[in-house]
């Protein structure tokens, strides 16, 4: 699974947090919560309680204010996930052009159910709601860059999984 990393914002991250806070009026630093959660998740892989507590402390808000937000928004993983989270659109328009087949194919190939992580810890398959790409479906995206893969076929999914396995970092 994930390499154990010390949960601490680096100097570089703290600098980014300062930049983000400048976008809001004085006293409204809490507005930085979503951007900072994204920053933290990109760095630490998922939003564990330790990560959320760190976010609370850098923004000077109560931990509960972070928990209630992180659990509301589907992009934040509050449970451990694989190295690559394949977020596949499962909504109507994509289903008209074969999204359900793609999800099934991924489940069979990785021997997991939607929502689970493959045994090697590399892939989590997550069915997500409309990604605003209905014209190029079926689609999936992979964080933290949220790169899009469009017009998916079983062949292109095979290729994608191979490419991801081959990546160094």
């Amino acid at each position: 699974m994930l390499a154990v990393k010390e949960i601490k914002f680096s100097e570089e991250m703290l600098k980014q947090v300062d930049e983000i806070i400048k976008r809001y009026p004085e006293g409204k630093e809490k507005s930085a919560l979503l951007p900072v959660l994204h920053l933290a998740q990109a760095e630490f892989g998922w939003c564990s309680t330790e990560v959320m507590d760190q976010v609370a402390s850098v923004l000077n808000i109560k931990p509960i204010e972070v928990y209630e937000v992180a659990t509301f928004y589907t992009m934040f993983h509050v449970k451990p996930v694989g190295k690559y989270v394949l977020e596949v659109c499962r909504t109507g328009p994509c289903c008209l052009v074969g999204a359900e087949k793609i999800i099934k194919y991924l489940e069979d190939k990785l021997e997991i159910k939607e929502g689970e992580t493959s045994a090697d810890g590399l892939f989590t398959v997550k069915g997500v709601e409309c990604l605003a790409a209905c014209g190029t479906g079926p689609v999936l995206q992979i964080g933290p860059e949220y790169t899009f893969y469009e017009h998916l076929t079983t062949d292109s999914v095979d290729q994608l999984l191979e490419d991801l396995k081959g990546r160094k970092q």
Binding site: H38, C130, L131, C134
Partner: protein, 457 residues
């Protein structure tokens, strides 16, 4: 060729960069408003244009702007709604990806009109690549003197910031969006007060869709009257339509409002007809929230008139036989599409996205998802169809925000127009699991309405 306003330069190589955009005449709307117009003049032009909000509700943009409260010493905000999560809608993503400066230019024009010195673009979090694109465009515009302090020596200051969401459809609802921008859960607020009085941080705020804001540059450059000449009746100007589903050419099209639906579906300039030589069964014309219509009703109104892509024509017949333009998410279904399955899929969406504040929405969407699942998977009873009807009726109009209605309408319209397909699922569960109901009578010509004289008798 139809007039293009927003996507005019989409094929110009490098148009996403400031330099190329500027060479094409970009940012001249900013020069014009800052040098020759008062904020009130800008609001007036937008009012004259008849532009209606492109986010779904179709509220006149100029009027919304004129409602903005202006108490002394209190900042005002413009917040651009780029949450785009309505199933079937993907125009804003397209625009921001290819033409980020069109949005930034419109943001400056609109912010000036409203007297906002800080404006935000709230982009759904999944659109990280678009967030980067917009941030780059903002930096370029700033470096060229179109943002920051004392823009073009006019004394007007403006900063624009991009805010990511976190993956929640409800944050497209304007008050939920403001809550989210304040770093909270996206729970819609009870209105009033409206954002125009108490919006972001309790200050007067205007929330507008990407496309509405983008259209304002052309309006101030060419005049509101010119814009109003395009389109039909109270549906002025052009509209971006996201076309998806079983068509030959899915994609984003800029149409002049008033284009016949039939032409939009079958002409090679737009959708290019139904894919694989199949026949048209149904259309969801304005994003998942609007009523679904069978082929015969989407092409013609009950009076036998051709249906047009306009706010009024699509709504002709009310919910009995019409639908809505909504956000312009045009989802096309062919004869193989299963209406029950699609309705179940949409119900699951609304159940997943309900913020949970109101019981009718939180519980009702769950019930609808469950009942529809039962019918789709061959365990439905005839009484389930009536139960479903009952549940959707109890949601509509009984919630804080319109998500409840948006969840109810697709179910209501599916039962209204496709009841026999639901009954078939109940009566023939095995056949329904293995095959589908097909086109049935959904494309049959409607009975010609009686002539008025006969009705009088």
């Amino acid at each position: 060729m139809a007039q293009k306003i927003l996507l005019k330069d989409i094929d110009v190589p490098g148009i996403e960069t400031f330099d190329v955009f500027r060479k094409q005449g970009g940012y001249s709307a900013v020069e014009k408003v800052l040098k020759t117009m008062s904020p009130e003049d800008v609001v007036e032009e937008v009012k004259k244009s008849g532009l209606r909000g492109r986010g779904g509700a179709g509220f006149p943009t100029g009027m919304k702007w004129s409602f903005l409260a202006k108490p002394e010493g209190v900042p005002r905000y413009l917040v651009c709604n780029a949450d785009e999560s309505e199933p079937g809608t993907f125009k804003d993503r397209y625009l921001m990806t290819k033409l980020p400066h069109v949005l930034i230019e419109g943001m400056i024009v609109a912010s000036y009109a409203l007297g906002a010195n800080t404006s935000y673009i709230y982009v759904r979090g999944e659109m990280m690549p678009q967030i980067r694109i917009l941030e780059k465009a903002i930096a370029e515009a700033k470096a060229a003197g179109f943002l920051g302090e004392n823009i073009l020596g006019s004394g007007y200051d403006l900063e624009i910031y991009v805010q990511p969401g976190g993956g929640a459809y409800i944050c497209g609802e304007e008050t939920a969006l403001l809550e989210s921008l304040e770093g909270k859960r996206g729970n819609p607020r009870i209105k009033p007060p409206f954002p125009a009085i108490a919006g972001l941080y309790g200050c007067p705020t205007v929330v507008n869709n990407v496309e509405s804001i983008a259209a304002t540059s052309w309006i101030v450059l060419n005049g509101g009257d010119e814009y109003a000449k395009i389109g039909i009746g109270r549906s002025t100007g052009t509209k971006l339509i996201s076309a998806s589903g079983n068509i030959n050419k899915p994609g984003v099209y800029e149409i002049e409002l008033g284009l016949p639906v039939e032409e939009f579906i079958y002409s090679d300039e737009y959708c290019g007809g139904i894919a694989n030589g199949k026949r048209l069964k149904a259309v969801v014309a304005g994003g998942s929230s609007v009523p679904i219509l069978p082929a015969n009703l989407i092409l013609r109104t009950v009076n036998g008139e051709p249906r047009l892509m306009s706010y009024e024509s699509l709504a002709d017949g009310g919910f009995a036989s019409g639908t809505m333009l909504g956000s312009g998410g045009f989802i096309v279904m062919d004869e193989d599409a299963c209406i029950v399955r699609n309705t179940w899929n949409f119900s699951r969406f609304y159940h997943h996205e309900s913020c949970g504040q109101c019981s009718p929405c939180r519980e009702g969407t769950g019930w609808m998802e469950k009942i529809l699942h039962r019918i789709e998977y061959g365990h439905g009873k005839m009484s389930d169809i009536d139960l479903l009807w009952d549940v959707q009726r109890k949601i509509e109009g009984n919630t804080i925000c319109p998500l409840g209605d948006a969840a109810a309408w697709p179910v209501a319209s599916a039962i209204r127009h496709f009841r026999d397909e639901f009954e078939w699922h109940v009566n023939e569960p095995k056949a329904a699991m293995e095959g589908n109901y097909g086109l049935a009578h959904y494309a049959d010509p409607l009975p010609v309405p009686a002539a008025p004289s006969e009705l009088v008798k």
